[in-house]
């Protein structure tokens, strides 16, 4: 029985890996261009950005909340990053730092207001989504910043064969977040709070502190995605982040996260991003109407949630 349980636990991401491999093989068979260096590069480029977005949401899912403002924070930081370099002539490291600090403040605001008011993060971040986006539009008047330093542009375009340099950033983030949830007290505390807030509190965990830190972390990850988007697009586009929301939930959920909190899978989330990336890519490669992306993504989320529910039922039945 334990073997079976172990196998089921493995299935958290193992099944996804099989899906990825089969889909990859199928695509390679249908369209040889799939395996071309350039296509791999394109895939990894989208993966780089989206995995950060997905992780940003995953951290908040872990505490059993939702962060609707990931995109708005990413967008605000993106234009701040681009704007301070263009208008104030800030050196790149300083602009990056400023972007991260700004994001931390946004996250701090989300976290503190959520915790102190006791109102659900869904509502709070719905409001801050609008606030952050409003500031973004107010500053930019919806016009992009074009004067991006060459070094940033170069970083955004550089690649080694099929591997974009940019991939370094999400790779570090993935390792960092994995270590956080699997090897660090803070990560374990985040999961404990997400799974059972009362029990966590009565076990001596400072719930408020954990909630606030999770929000800060989420915002910083979103900000990193925002700044990478600037490097990739080669301009400070105010609309960066507008289309992140669905993906940010889709990947963690496909990856086996429990929306009620307390259980997330970093590897599963990464594979979730890969699957979404593959779908996008397949539709382009096979010349299918891109509007199907939305439809398929929705169907995939539904399927993933159903699968998780079914797995949960089986676990209960085993108990």
């Amino acid at each position: 029985m334990t073997d079976r349980l172990r196998a089921l636990a493995l299935a958290d991401w193992f099944g996804l890996l099989v899906v990825v491999l089969v889909a990859g093989a199928l695509l390679a068979f249908l369209q040889p261009a799939f395996l071309s260096t350039y296509n791999i590069y394109v895939l990894l480029l989208s993966f780089s950005l989206w995995v950060l977005v997905a992780l940003a949401q995953m951290v908040i899912i872990a505490i059993g909340q939702m962060n609707l403002s990931v995109g708005a924070i990413g967008g605000l930081v993106a234009i701040t990053f681009a704007g301070t370099m263009e208008v104030w002539g800030l050196p790149i490291p300083l602009a990056v730092l400023l972007g991260l600090v700004l994001a931390a403040l946004c996250g701090l605001f989300n976290g503190v207001v959520t915790h102190v008011s006791g109102i659900s993060a869904f509502i709070i971040t719905l409001a801050t989504l609008s606030i952050f986006k409003g500031i973004n539009i107010g500053i930019t008047e919806a016009q992009p910043f074009y004067a991006i330093p060459d070094a940033v542009k170069a970083f955004g375009a550089a690649r080694l064969g099929g591997v974009p340099y940019m991939l370094v950033v999400p790779a570090l983030a993935i390792v960092g977040v994995w270590l956080l949830f699997n090897r660090m007290v803070l990560g374990r505390q985040i999961l404990a709070v997400g799974a059972n807030r009362h029990a966590a509190e009565l076990s001596g965990i400072r719930v408020g502190r954990v909630v606030v830190i999770a929000h800060v972390l989420s915002a910083v990850l979103a900000a990193t995605a925002g700044m990478l988007a600037v490097a990739r697009l080669q301009l400070g586009q105010p609309t960066i982040g507008d289309d992140w929301l669905i993906l940010s939930f889709a990947a963690p959920v496909i990856g086996g996260a429990i929306l009620a909190g307390g259980h997330v899978s970093v590897i599963g989330t990464c594979l979730g991003v890969v699957i979404v990336t593959l779908i996008n890519n397949a539709l382009v490669l096979l010349g299918i109407d891109p509007f199907f992306v939305q439809l398929l993504l929705g169907a995939l989320i539904l399927a993933a949630v159903m699968l998780n529910r079914w797995r949960e039922r089986r676990r209960e039945a085993l108990a």
Binding site: M1, T2, R4, N196, G262, L318
Partner: protein, 503 residues
């Protein structure tokens, strides 16, 4: 007497487990029939079959002589079977009356007739002796009150067959008496009642017949309780003689005060609470529901706060703003009465649940937590408490109730606290584990921990406590020095409660 409910050769398997293996059960009109068994014996599965939650793989179920196949819980209710489940099934934001009447809300012109809802609900609240307004939201009730609402909800259907799964797990002796009076009345009117309980005293006080399950089979079948004694029932349940808790003697140093409260008031509404707890001592807090015992514990821990008076830990004045401080600075731990909601993280594994209190201590630089260190800290406790789990990675939600409770005790043993507040440690726990836990609590005190024992289980209180404080209305009503004589102690305790009621 006619059989109103008949189960023949019921079998039910879950992946890897045969929960029921040919169980027979016959319930007759006008009897209260005890269904007993240790955790995992198959009681819950049988109840779930009778209430339409599970379908048996094999065997037949007859209700009033008709073979039935319940497709869902609704079908069972329509067949005339009403149940009080072990889990809460109330809607917190709805009123007491709405919850009670939910199966059958009275309507007028297509609208819910709330006056009628409240009127009918009030009838049952009165019969159960529950003094709450029918309009009150269920979420504002205490655990015991919720339990009684749950019972009212089952009674209101006026079914001929009533299944009660641990209905007294969280209510007081007085409320239990009222409930039993009502159940006897229903029996005398011809209802057939199945009563599941871990408290054998209750079974012998209330029931007429007993069926015991063990390992998914009948250990006995419909035996009149007049014909057998407690020892025989226990033998059916555990397959051998009952082991009596070996407690021995436990001298303690009367001068080493671990915790002292002087005239303490709290944000929950306590006033003038004074007590002294010494190292090596077990101080009992007995009281009816709403006496403010768990709340006092929570105020001390920093979940609520102390608003007046003086709290001393180990001789020094203490101010405890939150649980983190209580645990790490003052070394106070709290084993919650509600292990599912407050004590454990059911979706996490055994290692995490026990380790949660010591992560901070085990962590290296930058909060680095090596899995091996946690396992090495946790494994000896799992052995010591004999937690039955396939591995440390097993989800706690998959363990039996008794083993879950052991895990929630283990986490505070891991924390190595000096003062341990134990809140209703054996509610819903099987006999063997209960004995284990009693011995453990005793041993902890013997090893020098100061223990504050909150319990509504009078035999448990009399067995374990050195002194018993009787609480009521968020005050201390009196103190009883325990000489472990059950009759004398229970009279002394009840005298304090009645004195307060009379005043």
């Amino acid at each position: 007497m006619t059989a109103v409910l008949e189960v023949r050769g019921a079998e039910k398997s879950f992946p890897g487990v045969k929960a029921l293996d040919g169980v027979d059960f016959v319930l007759r009109a006008g009897e209260i029939h005890a269904l007993l068994g240790e955790n995992g014996a198959g009681k819950s599965t049988l109840i779930k079959i009778l209430t339409g939650i599970h379908e048996p793989d094999r065997g037949e179920v007859r209700v009033f002589g008709q073979a039935v196949h319940f497709a869902n819980a609704r079908a069972a209710i329509e067949a005339g079977i009403s149940a009080v489940h072990q889990e809460r099934n109330l809607i917190p934001r709805m009123s007491v009356a709405e919850n009670i009447m939910l199966e059958n809300l009275p309507q007028r012109l297509g609208f819910v007739d709330y006056a009628e809802v409240n009127r009918q609900a009030l009838l049952w609240l009165e019969r159960l002796g529950l003094e709450v307004a029918p309009e009150r939201a269920v979420r504002t009730l205490s655990v015991a009150q919720m339990q009684l609402v749950e019972i009212a909800k089952a009674l209101v259907l006026e079914a001929k067959i009533l299944l009660m799964d641990e209905p007294t797990a969280s209510i007081t002796p007085h409320e239990t008496d009222v409930l039993f009076g009502l159940l006897r009345q229903l029996r005398d009117q011809g209802a057939a009642i199945v009563f599941v309980s871990h408290k054998l005293e209750e079974v012998f006080a209330l029931c007429d017949t007993v069926t015991v399950l063990r390992d998914g089979r009948n250990a006995c079948h419909a035996v009149p309780l007049a014909e057998i004694d407690r020892a025989a029932v226990v033998k059916f349940m555990i397959g051998r003689e009952e082991r009596v808790a070996k407690l021995g003697t436990k001298p303690f140093d009367a001068t080493a005060t671990a915790l002292r409260l002087e005239d303490v008031a709290t944000s929950f509404g306590h006033a003038g609470v004074s007590l002294e707890l010494r190292r090596g001592e077990i101080l009992g807090l007995y009281g009816l529901v709403g006496a403010g015992r768990s709340e006092l514990a929570k105020a001390l821990l920093g979940v609520g706060h102390v608003t007046g008076g003086r709290v001393e830990v180990a001789g020094k004045e203490a101010s405890i703003p939150d649980v983190t401080t209580a645990l790490h600075r003052y070394r106070i731990g709290y084993i919650s009465e509600d292990r599912k909601a407050e004590g454990l993280i059911l979706i996490h594994d055994v290692a995490s649940n026990i380790g949660v209190t010591i992560w901070r201590r085990l962590a290296g630089m930058l909060g680095w937590l090596a899995e091996g260190r946690v396992r090495r800290a946790v494994a000896p406790l799992v052995d010591k408490l004999q937690v039955r789990t396939p591995s440390l990675r097993q989800r706690v939600g998959n363990l039996s109730g008794g083993n879950q409770q052991k895990v929630s005790v283990a986490k505070w043993l891991a924390a190595e606290v000096d003062i341990l507040i134990v809140d209703e440690p054996t509610v819903g726990i099987d006999i063997k584990t209960k004995t284990d836990l009693h011995e453990l609590i005793w041993q902890l005190a013997k090893d020098g921990k100061a223990i504050l024992l909150i319990s509504s289980d009078m035999p448990e209180m009399v067995a374990l406590a050195d002194r018993i404080l009787v609480m009521g209305g968020f005050r201390v009503l009196g103190e009883v020095l325990n000489d472990h004589d059950y009759g004398r102690m229970s009279r002394a305790i009840m005298a304090h409660i009645h004195e307060a009621e009379a005043a």
